[in-house]
Amino acid sequence: MKYFIKIFKESIIIVILSSLIGLVSGSVLTSNEEILYTLPILLLILPAVNSLIGDMSTILVSRLTTHLYIGTIVPKFKSSKRIREDLIGLLITLLLSLAVLLILAYLIGVLSGVKIVNPFLMIGMISLTVLIIFFMLFLLLFISAIFLFKRGMDPNNFLIPFITSLADFLTPLFLIIFITIFI
């Protein structure tokens, strides 16, 4: 039961902490409901935007962890060709997926009759939010994965729960800030 104990010990605190962040982000969303209602389509696509950032972060963590375990990147805080390939590959995927998401959101808005207020501003705010969070998380994940790996811990157990909850918290927060500034 060594593997069981390792997973359980490494995960328990971060899983509890992530659930707490989840409850806090729900409260942030509820208390700023009126601001978000100024752009109704945003509420409909918010789970998909959260997932997009969460997915990219999860892929990044699992790739970084695998690289560290098989030795394709060294556990040092320095750039390498492997890291740049991952960053560019995931960034292009993120941009393509964002384009699909925005097109789908527009189609749903048109079909469901949900009013799309100021579409260009909305696209700008969503894109800026996604890109800012992606670069923030990339840097944070790279540093954290190496730090944890060097201490003999599995980055998957710590970083995936933490980062998805953090993304779920940061996405509505950034959107609320941008809506407050621009609208």
Binding site: S19, L46, H67
Partner: protein, 185 residues
């Protein structure tokens, strides 16, 4: 496998899965907004639990998938390691459910003062819906991981985005099923 991934391969393997994930999440969002929230009188109390339950994907299912992918790639995958991985995930799920229940109950009693749900509901709703969701997610993601691996794809790139859609959809579905089973108002 992962060592040879170029940016082109990352995009080629990840982008289609991500599109599936986006469609699944938009559908889950529509079902949640149209089916669950307007039907149940207790929806104000249920809203407290939904974000935490949806974060289950990242907290439990995501690491389970990543560990399975890594074990397959580095050659550590075995029946024993998989069973221990599953047991650890379920043990963490039960603790998470109890934690969500306690926190939601505290928020309900002392902050929002809604008094719509029974105290037992705050524990049973997360516990049953998380267990049901994992019972769908674990075999599905293991099968998908294995399939991606034997087809020569990098499971890290393919499985997580597809499972996001499956997990979010099954979370919403199992949540709905739990509410019906428990007769929540």
């Amino acid at each position: 496998m992962s060592t040879q991934d170029t940016k082109g391969r990352i995009i080629k393997e990840t982008f289609p899965s991500e599109v599936v994930s986006i469609i699944g999440d938009i559908l889950a969002g529509i079902i949640l907004t149209l089916l669950i929230l307007p039907i149940f009188k207790s929806f104000l109390a249920l809203i407290l639990m939904i974000p935490a339950l949806l974060s289950l994907r990242g907290n439990l299912s995501g690491p389970f998938i990543a560990r399975t992918s890594r074990d397959l790639i580095i050659g550590d995958f075995s029946k024993r390691s998989w069973i221990e991985n599953v047991l650890a995930t379920f043990a963490l799920a039960i603790l998470t459910a109890i934690f969500i229940g306690i926190l939601s109950l505290i928020l309900d009693l002392f902050v929002f003062k809604l008094n719509i749900l029974l105290i037992i509901h705050f524990f049973l709703i997360p516990l049953i819906s998380i267990t049901l969701t994992l019972s769908i997610s674990i075999p599905f993601s293991t099968g998908l991981n294995y399939l991606a691996f034997i087809k020569g794809l990098n499971p890290n790139n393919v499985v997580s985005p597809i499972m996001t859609a499956v997990d979010d959809f099954s979370t919403v579905f199992c949540f709905f099923l739990t509410l019906i089973m428990l007769g929540v108002p």
